[in-house]
């Protein structure tokens, strides 16, 4: 087999500096996704008229269409219609696409988790005179996040891998670096194996953090 092991090892030193882009995109997208999902899930939980339907359409659209199509529309399509968007960077476009896409799934995970919180918990809060928002923030949401934790972990892993699509709009992440090296040397196998190993290590790391978190909250759920 024609596998250049030395080249493969050397490639890591070229690709790894771009890791900060991949990790940066993933963390920023995760933060925005969590925020957006929480808002959408609460709106859908309370069935706030109008906004509820709007987010329903949003969820259907972003779940039904491929991430790469959403990214292209956002980065190449929309700036033609809205000139103000021309200044959008590849980083921003990738974050926005990843956030909008992942939030459409995560919002549904969270809504199900919110609905799984026992009605007795709400009754207890209301009977004490607590307001609706206090009940949501102090009791329902924390319990729902615990329930949703495994699927939130899944979504985060999805974000990390999804960030690899950034290269299609010119983002210099690890995938882009590997692709460039592959094209220059025609050593595709080594190049893709290199990024595969890096993604694998990141995801194993995330999995372990998730396990640790789950262990910590075990005592009350």
């Amino acid at each position: 087999m024609n596998f250049d092991f030395q080249w493969f090892i050397n490639l890591f030193s070229i690709v790894l500096p771009a890791l900060k882009i991949t990790i940066g995109i993933s963390l920023v997208s995760l933060a925005f996704t969590l925020l957006l999902s929480i808002i959408i899930s609460i709106v859908r939980y309370y069935k706030v008229w109008g906004v509820y339907q709007f987010f329903g359409v949003y969820i259907t659209f972003f779940r039904a269409t491929p991430l790469v199509a959403q990214l292209f529309i956002l980065y190449f399509g929309l700036p033609c219609v809205v000139p103000a968007l021309k200044s959008m960077t590849a980083f921003q476009a990738t974050v926005i696409a990843l956030t909008l896409n992942t939030a459409s799934f995560m919002a549904e995970d969270l809504r199900a988790a919110l609905e799984s919180v026992d009605i007795g918990q709400l009754e207890a809060c209301y009977s004490m005179g607590m307001a609706k928002y206090q009940t949501m923030i102090r009791v329902v949401l924390p319990q729902a996040l615990v329930v949703a934790l495994p699927s939130l972990g899944n979504r985060f892993i999805g974000i990390i891998k999804g960030s690899a699509l950034g290269f299609t709009v010119g983002l210099a992440d690890i995938m882009a670096k590997a692709k460039i090296e592959a094209a220059l040397s025609l050593r595709f196998f080594e190049a893709y194996l290199c990024v595969t190993v890096i993604y694998l290590v990141i995801v194993v790391f995330v999995e372990n953090i998730q396990k640790l978190l789950e262990k910590r909250i075990q005592k009350f759920c």
């Binding site: 207890a124 209301y126 102090r138 319990q143």
Partner: protein, 251 residues
Amino acid sequence: MIKIEHLKMQFGELIILKDINIEVSKGEVVALIGPSGTGKSTFLRCLNFLVKPTEGKITIDGFTVDAKTASKKDIHVLRQKTAMVFQNYNLLKNKTAIQNVMEPMITVQKKSKEEAEEIAIDLLKKVGLLEKRDAYPKEMSGGQQQRIGIARAMAVNANVILFDEPTSSLDPELVEEVLAVIKQLAAENNKTMLIVTHEMKFAKEVADKMIFLENGYIAGMGTPKEIFQNCTNERIRKFVNKVTANNVEDK
């Protein structure tokens, strides 16, 4: 203290409470008894609008709410005038025992953390569970959870405490510890208590007044003595004596 006028609760076609009129004075302990499914719990839940009554007026501690015109704010005020102890304890699962007791003081009464903690420690001592202060609900037995539930209801600092079958989910060994706490509470504090219960012996001992509810009506009302001994209503006499006879201690 509590005045209920023409309370009616209808769920679709089903009429659960027909026309309830009750007056309870301050410090009185009232036991609500009657067969299952006759609206005892629903009645209690109407008092703090966990179940919205269809018609009628509820006055608690000088504050009157009309079921037909009740606003969110009215309901909010009314709820602060009562505290509730639930059949399934309903301790907040993501909070420890002491945090559960502190919750109404912090969120509703806006007390400082230090002050709330001080009061909570006192209340935990009262129900004999100070050593469980940092335990989460799932780390406690049903009886312990219910005692924390009672401490939490005390922390609400309302003049009225509603007990919704406080011992029905407990196994027999744990019933006593919870009843003892309620009895002590009734003796020490001048709180008005409404207790839905099937524990006839307990009701007899602790209640000033007993109300027998059946088919959405008040079928009878009186002191424990009147209900247990001198009741002229054949149905009530049969019920209380049957339930009492089922109790091993009384056999």
